[in-house]
């Protein structure tokens, strides 16, 4: 539809100009333009204006000197040494330079890069060196961003006696070009005697950079490449869950662990879903096919028979309905009661008369046990379906910050497996995520807000986080958020699990945050590494003086994870600390902690 004075905010001349321009734009140009306009609008903090001459705005918003990012992949240290040397030389000439190994460089920062110099060796059979592997994988994954506006050059070191000489350098060089970056100086492949050709490469790059600097820094603006949300984006919610694609699904537990904890990364692009640290993501799970098929067989049902799945009369095949609509893994008292009409088995009636008995019965049993134990069954399939509960959503504390990962959401899910009543039992959603959720598959999700587990509004307030196992998930989102916001408040994490070697969830991330000062303190309790079992509450008590001081200083305390044991013991420990360090009576200590809670300085997300 052409723009007119009537249907747009533009005057006739503007509308004409736009009408001439817009049809000639290709997709890339449109995205660029929308990003350009919206970022210009943000900076001007006014309504969108069409610049009369694009160049003027550019000059006010873009620095004349572009920042140079040097990334290296190094096995023996040669590339690292060169990278450091070149960085120093560039700094001498007043360039802004950052240098790091590829794996220390946060992939999501890639799209902010301006001038990129890559120095890498090649390892083994043409593989990247260890400290470049993750970055390399990222670059070759679907998640690699478009690099329009990025200028680069690659220096590769290798050993020509290997078949895949300098392969990693070649790969990266080609990939950067494919992603839209501009090669400003051709790649140089060096053999073992790399010093000279490497020096020549650098001199060449430097000469080029100097030339461009003196030319006055005319350059393409790095437009914000985010797609602008269309107006008709549906609002995703429990009623209309979003189909989120799985980008990553890894087991966080090392070999030899008793646990399996999945880290999932889901793609929220196009969902318009927003969340804050502390919120949960809800997943509509699907039942295990094997269990559903066994049930159908046990009841001698026809899997293809049509059954209703809601009151609006939507129908599905029985098998499909049992897989995605109805709950089969959990028994409830209402279910047992309603089922009485479908069986003449007297034992069911007897069971329901004794509340101790039916409670004991439903613990650890599922629908298959039930139909096996209380047949023979009468009535139709529809009758039976009519007594079943809809499959409930599963909620998981979100493990990422949206500010740090604008189009993703990360989850930390403990896979639940146990044996009961002679059969292996599987957690519905956790095992779906662990065993049946591959890259590219989709999960039905929506965001569940949790206003009772929120970072303090004051970025300077200290935060003390206590969690065991998957209870650590929201703290990852807290720290990502505080890092992204550059919140100056101190952060202290207590984490507990079974074994240091295999169960230290997100270990390298905490280590990085500790090194960079985002995380001020971290204490860990691995309960099965020593003869004596040590839990988070023990670590709290060991540090009681310091913990109390933090509380006195206005710290916000968070507890996430198991309710029955961990949260209870931590609560006790906090009271003990107040008693001991604050010289309080037990009663006063209790009200001290209670006051924290009322001031929202003691928040819990326990289950």
């Amino acid at each position: 539809m052409p723009l007119e004075v009537m249907n747009s905010p533009f005057n006739q001349d503007q509308a004409d100009l736009l009408n001439r321009l817009l049809p000639t734009l290709n997709e890339k140009q449109k995205i660029w333009l929308s990003g350009y306009l919206s970022s210009a609008a943000t900076e001007a903090d006014t309504a969108v204006q069409v610049p009369e001459a694009g160049g003027q705005i550019q000059e006010t918003t873009v620095e004349a000197t572009r920042e140079i990012t040097i990334l290296f992949g190094s096995h023996t240290g040669n590339c690292q040494a060169l990278a450091d040397e070149y960085a120093a030389k560039l700094k001498e000439q007043d360039y802004q330079v950052t240098v790091s190994s590829m794996d220390d460089f946060k992939p999501k920062a890639l799209k902010k890069v301006e001038d990129l110099l890559v120095l890498t060796s090649t390892h083994g059979d043409g593989d990247p060196p260890d400290n470049a592997l993750s970055f390399y994988d990222f670059l070759f994954s679907k998640r690699a961003p478009k690099l329009d506006g990025v200028r680069f050059s690659v220096l590769s070191l290798g050993d020509s006696s290997y078949e895949f000489f300098c392969q990693t350098g070649k790969d990266i060089d080609q990939k950067l070009e494919e992603l839209g970056a501009e090669r400003i100086y051709p790649r140089v492949d060096c053999d073992l005697d790399f010093e000279e050709p490497a020096g020549e490469w650098f001199d060449g790059v430097l000469a080029l950079l100097n030339e461009q600097k003196s030319a006055g820094g005319s350059q393409t603006p790095t437009g914000n490449t985010q797609t602008v949300q269309a107006d008709d984006t549906p609002v995703y919610s429990r009623a209309h869950p979003f189909q989120a694609e799985i980008l990553e699904n890894i087991n966080l537990n090392g070999r030899g662990s008793n646990k399996e904890t999945r880290h999932l990364e889901l793609d929220l692009e196009g969902s318009n879903l927003s969340y804050e640290p502390g919120d949960s993501l809800a997943i509509f799970p699907e039942n295990d096919e094997a269990l559903v098929d066994q049930l159908i067989k046990e009841m001698d049902w026809n899997p293809e028979e049509s059954v209703p799945i809601n009151k609006d009369g939507e129908i599905r095949s029985l098998r499909e309905a049992l897989l995605s609509t109805y709950e089969t893994t959990c028994l409830t008292k209402p279910l047992l009661e309603k089922a009485q009409t479908l069986t003449d088995n007297e034992q069911l009636k007897e069971l329901l008369e004794d509340s101790e008995q039916w409670k004991a019965y439903i613990y650890g049993r599922d629908l298959l046990d039930f139909v096996q134990d209380f047949g023979p069954w009468k009535g139709t399939v529809q009758d039976f379906i009519g007594i079943l509960r809809k499959i409930p959503v599963r909620l998981y504390s979100i493990a990422s910050s949206q500010a740090a990962n604008p189009e993703e959401v990360h989850l930390t899910i403990g896979a639940l497996r146990y044996e009961a009543h002679g059969r292996n039992r599987l957690g519905v959603c956790s095992i779906q995520c662990a065993e049946r959720a591959n890259h590219g598959d989709q999960l039905s999700v929506f965001v569940q807000k949790n206003p009772n587990f929120k970072l303090p509004e004051n970025p300077e307030a200290p935060v003390l986080m206590i969690g065991a196992g998957t209870g650590v998930a929201p703290y990852r989102s807290f720290l990502e958020e505080r890092e992204e916001m550059e919140a100056p408040g101190k952060n202290w994490l207590f984490f507990g699990e079974q074994h240091f070697v295999s169960d230290f969830l997100y270990q390298v991330e905490w280590q990085r945050w500790l090194n960079e000062g985002v995380l001020t303190n971290m204490d860990v309790a691995f309960s099965r590494d020593n003869e004596e079992k040590v839990y988070v509450q023990h670590r709290l008590l060991e540090k009681s003086a310091e913990v109390y001081q933090w509380l006195q200083d206005g710290t916000y305390v968070y507890v996430c994870g198991d309710e029955k044991y961990m949260a209870k013991d931590v609560h006790e420990a906090l009271i003990t600390i107040a008693e001991k360090e604050g010289n309080m009576s037990r009663e006063d200590a209790e009200s001290y902690i209670d006051k924290l809670r009322k001031e929202k300085r003691y928040q819990r997300d326990v289950y």
Binding site: S134, D159, G254, R255, V508, E509
Partner: protein
């Protein structure tokens, strides 16, 4: 005497020199690093200091990438090497090492090519307990690694027990004399009282000073005709001269060493050369003075060029001899004549001086229980009943030494029961094989070694059988990297790892460990290794002259040039 050090400039001191200097005599921040609960590692500078305390930080490389994906740090763990001069251990000490391996380690022990025990897989939190156990059993790990004199080797001679005893005592004296004197080890591991060594550096470390040596330093004592310790591979080698069953003294050989760097021809393996002879009681003095020459003249700028062999080659033998004489205040005598006839081990029972000694074949020195045999359990049971000693050989085997006649049968029965063997059913090629640890624990490994060589020999054995060479002793050695822990440059067939599944192949080393081999093919995989060696072995079987060893044959047949000196090692 130490001031020369400063006048010898090879360039700015390497990073390691700074770490040593700042370490307050090997303390660094080890106490704090060992306590940090967030990581199983210690920081880089402490890792380097740990070596002086006998331990290398490693990680399980089999799971390195997997763990990285899992957002876990590498599976950090520590290798610990005992200082065990001459490789002699009591049965009680054997049992302690067995217990450590099974309590804190990976349930295996490695007998090293320098006659000592190594444990692998010990976590940071257990290091102190482990070292205390070692200490309680009257062993230690001081200076088992690092820029110091390493474990002193000594011929494991089972034939002449009394002479062995005498020479072994000298190896112990050399080892004790050259130990670092810092109290750091006792403070860090043994809860010793904290003493800050604030005195003059040569009061704290009379031999080493505060910077210790530029690089590791290796000493070994050989007793002809056996060159089991590969005397020519040592920085400082002593060759015992025994006449009429009496120790007359030692020939002194200097400047050997194995390590090199792929692609850097300024680095090379070298054989030591004899510069004279000294009487037995002079050995400690000679060792100390040679070591101080290296302390003062070794290259402290370039670690790849810092071993004593480079110092010797840079200054020449005459200069070394003169410098030594100046420092000793007396002169070495003319070298005495001697002959070596092998560097491998001689297996099975032998009698010497009324006692019996059983040399067992331990493939690549790996003490562990497997489906085929229970080497670890068997040696544990033997240790429980044995009242003589264990001798760890330089070829990674073990001798049940000093067995009384009436105990022989019991030992034999235990050996039989647990599948321990003197190697008689193995080819002579396998019995003369050696491999370093390499993957998955060694951080330097570029290719498999210990886990691969046995299966390569399986395939070579087919050829060996076909060619009728089952009993022909051929020394074959593999190392996962060019540092050469298994002394591959002194083998008749040598392999040095280049990349996963790829090796440089070397030929033409001397059977008695007297001549370096030379690169024959570069960067080849198994198929090409077998394709290359097969026709050579057949030809050798057919055309060898009487008593001609494989290493000599390949030179005569023109496959490879003879190497006279390390300076000719590279093509």
């Amino acid at each position: 005497m130490s001031k020369e050090r400063d006048s010898q400039q090879h360039g700015p001191p390497s990073e390691m020199e700074g770490i040593k200097k700042e370490s307050r005599y090997l303390r660094g921040s080890l106490v704090e690093s060992l306590q940090n609960p967030i990581t199983g590692s210690v920081p880089d500078s402490d890792t380097k200091l740990m070596k002086f305390h006998g331990s290398y930080m490693q990680d399980d490389r089999d799971v390195r990438q997997e763990r990285k994906q899992q957002k876990l740090e590498p599976a950090y763990q520590f290798m610990t090497r005992v200082r065990l001069p001459g490789g002699v251990a009591t049965p009680e000490q054997w049992l302690v090492m067995d217990e450590i391996a099974n309590t804190y380690g990976h349930h295996t022990l490695k007998l090293t090519t320098r006659q000592t025990f190594q444990t692998h897989g010990v976590l940071k939190w257990n290091m102190k307990k482990q070292i205390q156990m070692i200490n309680d059993s009257l062993m230690d790990t001081i200076a088992a690694c690092g820029d110091v004199n390493r474990n002193v080797m000594c011929n494991a001679n089972p034939y002449q027990s009394d002479i062995h005893g005498e020479i072994f005592e000298w190896s112990k004296k050399v080892s004790e004399h050259l130990l670092p004197r810092t109290q750091a080890y006792h403070e860090i591991w043994l809860d010793g009282e904290k003493v800050e060594d604030s005195k003059d550096e040569y009061e704290v470390e009379p031999i080493y000073g505060s910077l210790y040596l530029p690089r590791k330093f290796k000493i070994g004592i050989a007793v002809p005709p056996s060159n089991d310790i590969d005397v020519y591979s040592q920085d400082l080698g002593f060759i015992a001269i025994v006449e009429n069953n009496e120790l007359k003294g030692f020939n002194v050989a200097v400047g050997g060493g194995m390590g090199m760097t792929h692609g850097d021809t300024n680095t090379y393996p070298q054989v030591s050369r004899v510069i004279g002879f000294c009487e037995p009681e002079k050995i400690v003095d000679v060792a100390e003075k040679i070591l101080t020459i290296q302390r003062d003249y070794g290259n402290r700028s370039e670690r790849k060029n810092a071993r004593f062999k480079y110092t010797v080659d840079r200054h020449g033998l005459d200069w070394v001899r003169q410098e030594l004489h100046d420092r000793l205040g007396w002169e070495l005598e003319e070298e005495r004549s001697y002959t070596f006839d092998h560097n491998g081990d001689r297996y099975g029972w032998v009698e010497g001086d009324g006692l019996w000694h059983l040399t067992l074949f331990i493939q690549n020195g790996r003490i562990k229980d497997s489906e085929d045999n229970q080497v670890m359990a068997g040696l544990r049971e033997i240790a429980k009943v044995h009242d003589g000693e264990f001798r760890l050989t330089p070829n990674q085997n073990v001798i049940i030494a000093r067995v009384e006649e009436e105990k022989k049968q019991e030992i034999d029965e235990l050996a039989e029961q647990y599948g321990l063997t003197d190697g008689r059913y193995n080819s002579a090629l396998r019995r003369n094989s050696m491999a370093c640890v390499a993957f998955p624990t060694c951080g330097l490994a570029m290719a498999e070694s210990e886990r691969y060589l046995p299966s390569l020999i399986d395939k070579m054995d087919d050829v060996i059988d076909e060619a009728g060479l089952q009993d022909e002793e051929i020394v074959i050695r593999m190392s996962g990297c060019p540092n050469g822990c298994s002394r591959p440059a002194l083998s008749e067939i040598g392999f040095i790892g280049k990349g996963p599944g790829k090796y440089n192949m070397y030929l033409g080393g001397g059977f008695t460990g007297n001549r370096l081999n030379k690169l024959y093919k570069e960067n080849i995989g198994e198929e090409e290794i077998l394709g290359t060696i097969k026709p050579m072995l057949f030809e050798y079987a057919k055309e060898r002259q009487e008593n001609e060893h494989f290493g000599d044959y390949v030179i005569r047949a023109g496959y490879i040039e003879e190497v006279q000196s390390g300076l000719d090692f590279h093509p």
